[in-house]
Symmetry: C2
Subunit: 167 residues, 2 copies
């Protein structure tokens, strides 16, 4: 995703709207603002995680495993939940297995399938990363009171409902 360092001013958008009458200035402005803040958040998250030797992909896999009572899941399920292809998940698991945070366990009932297991080291890594992440995130959002958080939730759902119209 681009970082959109230089968002258009209203004056620029008005100029564009003269040439392209379909332009809805506040819609464009909201859209770009949303993309920009989200990109900056994502970059900040990566920076935070990289201090612990993780990136978003691997970190998310660990979290998905921790959510399970058995601390295990198949690569296919993990891929679906993380929103990546199975091929990408193979790579993420390779990386995590090499540093000992997860292990591949071969299934007996279906010999095509394997399960990925969160190791003790993987859980220990989360026990360091998550408190740090949660503490930082709390600070990041502290100026947003509960009312604003609810407003945001509603607004995001409205935008989300409109996404099919964009494609």
């Amino acid at each position: 995703m681009l970082q959109l360092r230089d968002l258009p001013t209203t004056a620029v958008l008005e100029k564009f709207a003269e040439r392209y009458p379909d332009a809805d200035i506040t819609a464009i402005s909201s859209f770009l603002h949303l993309l920009r803040v989200a990109t900056d958040l994502s970059i900040a998250l990566d920076t935070c995680l990289s201090k612990h030797g993780l990136l978003q992909g691997r970190w998310w896999v660990l979290i998905l495993l921790m959510r399970e009572a058995s601390k295990t899941a198949t690569p296919s399920v993990l891929a679906d939940k993380a929103g990546v292809t199975r091929a990408t998940m193979t790579g993420l698991i390779d990386g995590l297995e090499q540093v000992g945070l997860v292990e591949r366990v071969y299934a007996k009932d279906d010999r095509r399938s394997i399960v990925i297991h969160l190791t003790e080291a993987g859980q220990a890594k989360l026990d360091v990363v998550m408190p740090d992440y949660y503490r930082r995130l709390r600070q990041c959002m502290q100026e947003l009171d509960e009312k604003k958080r609810e407003e945001l939730h509603l607004i995001l759902d409205l935008i989300n409902a409109g996404i099919p119209a964009l494609v």
Copy 2:
């Protein structure tokens, strides 16, 4: 950016909050919701642009050039405004130049520098892409009234101000 197909329920977050007391459940929920909607928007934008043979990077370069009265800018300035490295901008310009949407013009005053010029074909491409993009975006955001757009703006600014705390 991950696609976060499977956001945690409040129940899952409460479970995590037991183990990690710093967890601020509505902050986490807002954060992930924002990232997810923005990612989906970005993917939808790419889908829309790809119908015109563009991706976000190249499209944004064309827009930045069109904003200028001279329809030109240097690669360095474009890189800064698009939030990519100069190396990446070299590649974006290569691609745009190959299909004739921009051209490199060698500067006389500073022989290190070149300027990138939006060609007639580049302007013509924008004149097709932008109305389509604006029309779709208007539809996508149509359920968001002006009041909600202002609320969103305010909320995003608050979150943005908190980002340094996340890094």
